[in-house]
């Protein structure tokens, strides 16, 4: 039984309340539908690719294959959250490659010393990544540099930094626990990674959709001026966004280290473009203010499924690359339409 609203004079108006609530319901359903249209194409694409994959290779839908798909897509799922945040605020995080590489290299180095503790090393590395992100954010806010410029500069400096740190030859290996996390399996088929990944995804969605921070990020992305006038501390939001983005990049780097059991210069380079592609295919606007993390996840899975299907279709890396690009274009046209 809905309580009727009371206006200032204490006059109740049940009819107005009913209309208000009905309108609110209709608006919410409209918003939900709009979000669905924004995010659906990515998942439709994934479904389509899984079907195609199954046709080509009937064992495609086996749990093992799907498990591998999820693990391979997990890198972009994690770094896509950070990149998505940066794109939501109208910027771009070009420092992703070398934050990833730096995190991997640093953990490998820390791990190679005899008295290393995994927990403290990981916290130390991730803390450094957050600091790098804060530097990015401060450069954008205080020095008024364009995000592209600042993150490009950070990437270049980190590139040199990693070279100096490792003397050009990264060494060390992954901590055992990380190896198990990335490569181990539960019940024979399901990757262990699925559990923490699910936790990360839920945390990410909640952060963007249900917290004040998330609302403020969207506000800043839509119009920094209006956000400022509405009392949002735009500078703090931007700095936080790039800090989180660097954290996600660092996590991605650690995941890569665990998966490949080695770190090498340039290991992050191939993840920059897919991170951007996943965010945009997931329905985000490159100009900011619009986009959902669920969409990014769909984009990440789609890109990985696409790689897998193309790998099954053709042995030639050339043909795979060409089709990869063409299908991304098609996906974009579908999202737009």
């Amino acid at each position: 039984m809905r309580e009727p609203l009371q206006d200032k004079e204490g006059v109740t108006s049940t009819v107005a309340t009913e209309i208000q609530t009905a309108n609110l319901g209709r608006e919410m359903r409209a918003v939900w539908r709009r979000n669905l249209w924004m995010v659906a194409p990515a998942y439709a694409g994934v479904l389509f690719l899984l079907v195609v994959g199954y046709i080509i290779h009937p064992s495609f839908d086996s749990l093992t294959h799907l498990g591998t798909l999820v693990v391979l897509a997990s890198f972009v799922i994690v770094i896509g959250f950070g990149q998505g945040l940066a794109i939501l605020t109208g910027g771009l995080d070009l420092s992703l490659p070398y934050v990833m590489t730096f995190a991997a290299v640093e953990l490998a180095l820390a791990n190679s010393s005899a008295h290393s503790s995994l927990v403290w090393s990981t916290l130390w590395v991730l803390g450094l990544c957050v600091m790098i992100g804060v530097v990015n954010g401060l450069g954008i806010v205080w020095l008024k540099l364009s995000p592209i410029v600042m993150t490009l500069a950070t990437n270049t400096v980190l590139n040199g930094g990693v070279l100096v740190l490792t003397n050009g030859a990264p060494g060390g290996s992954s901590p055992g626990a990380l190896l198990t996390l990335m490569n181990g399996q539960l019940f024979g088929n399901v990757p262990i990674l699925v559990l923490p990944l699910a936790g990360f995804v839920i945390a990410g969605v909640v952060l963007l959709e249900r917290t004040t921070f998330g609302r403020r990020v969207y506000a800043v992305g839509n119009s920094p001026t209006v956000a400022w006038l509405s009392g949002v501390n735009v500078g703090a939001i931007v700095v936080s966004v790039y800090a989180v983005s660097a954290l996600c990049s660092g996590l991605g780097g650690l995941m890569l280290l665990g998966f490949a059991n080695q770190s090498f210069i340039g290991m992050g380079d191939q993840y920059l473009l897919p991170s951007i592609a996943a965010v945009v295919i997931g329905g985000a606007s490159a100009l900011g203010g619009r986009g959902k993390y669920i969409g990014t996840i769909g984009g990440a899975i789609l890109l990985e499924a696409l790689s897998a299907v193309l790998g099954a279709l053709s042995q030639s890396a050339a043909v795979q690359d060409i089709l990869y690009g063409l299908i991304i274009l098609l996906a974009m046209l579908a999202v737009r339409v």
Partner: protein
């Protein structure tokens, strides 16, 4: 396009200062380039030899010319991530289709320039006609062209006649060929600026809606911009082929970030409407000089990247400072090249 008549009492010095003030970014970048060159010469202890100058210019021309193309796109408010892919593809095509006669060589160059323009046009059509966001459209085409490059030549190879290599990396009379190519590229840019298209370019990038309201054909301008950018990428690919004397499908990928660095150091603003291509060309030169100065100083090459990143930030800050000192925040659209 002539300037206003010279009032009485205006000395050449005044005119020079006015030109500097109008083009403060280019002046700053040029000064930085000259400074670094002199620094390098000083540190090396030998005089400024022609060989040193030539090798500096040659080392930077590929990035510099590619950056000029990228600048065009960014001036128009767009983004082009397919630089690397296009250059790789053009490089392998040239390395496998270059004739062995002077006519064959010139034909090859013409083919590559035309092909570059065509690839640029593809980008433009995706952005303008299909209304795709430039970031993702050019990201996708970069995969397509890199893949196509692998199709043409899946192992580094190709045959490049020695005469071609010498023509572009040697000397034409007293002047290094690289310098002439650089001047030619700059000449193309200035021709663009003088043309009506140049005005449309700055207008479309600065404020597309205002431009459209004023009758600027924004869509067509964007199309031409991407096509011209492809032309510049073709030029870069020609020079790259001469430098490396071969074709390699992977050669373009690492060029993306240095090209963006050059565009940024050259004072071009992401978002459009501000900047100029010659400054980007000079910035490519600066990037190369940083490496050389550090080398001469005996600094391990690992530190070069760190310095490049710092120079990037410093250059952009200095550009902003110079703009503030020159008394204006924003060039009015369609004005002289900065």
């Amino acid at each position: 396009m002539r300037g206003p008549a010279r009032p009485i009492g205006t000395t050449s010095l005044t005119l020079l200062l006015q030109a500097v003030k109008r083009n403060h970014v280019t002046t700053f970048v040029l000064s930085l380039a000259v400074f670094l060159l002199l620094l390098k010469t000083l540190l090396q202890g030998q005089g400024l030899s022609r060989y040193a100058l030539t090798s500096s210019v040659d080392g930077s021309l590929v990035v510099g010319i590619a950056a000029m193309g990228e600048t065009l796109v960014i001036l128009a408010g767009g983004f082009d991530l397919s630089v690397g892919g296009i250059i790789s593809f053009l490089n392998v095509v040239l390395a496998t289709h270059l004739g062995f006669s002077p006519a064959g060589e010139m034909g090859g160059v013409a083919l590559i320039l035309a092909l570059g323009a065509a690839l640029g046009l593809c980008n433009g059509l995706l952005v303008v006609s299909l209304h795709l966001q430039p970031i993702i459209a050019t990201l996708a085409t970069s995969f397509v062209w890199s893949g196509a490059a692998l199709l043409v030549l899946n192992q580094p190879g190709g045959v490049v006649p020695a005469s071609f290599v010498n023509a572009l990396t040697g000397d034409w009379g007293p002047v290094p060929a690289g310098l002439i190519v650089a001047c030619a590229a700059a000449g193309v840019w200035y021709a663009i600026c003088r043309h009506r298209y140049g005005t449309f370019l700055y207008a479309s990038g600065g404020d597309p809606e205002a431009a459209a309201a004023n009758g600027v054909p924004v869509g067509r301008t964007l199309l031409i911009t991407y096509t011209l950018a492809g032309l510049f990428y073709g030029g870069a690919a020609v020079f790259l082929t001469a430098q490396t004397a071969g074709g390699d499908a992977n050669i373009g990928a690492p060029l993306l970030l240095p090209v963006f660095a050059a565009v940024v150091i050259g004072g071009t603003v992401f978002g459009g409407g501000q900047g100029n291509a010659v400054a980007s060309l000079l910035a490519g030169f600066i990037l190369d000089l940083i490496g050389e100065v550090l080398f001469v100083l005996g600094v391990a090459s690992f530190y070069t990247d760190i310095f490049e990143g710092l120079v990037l930030v410093a250059a952009v800050l200095a550009t902003t400072l110079a703009a503030a000192l020159a008394g204006r925040r924003r060039e009015h659209a369609g004005a002289t090249a900065r």
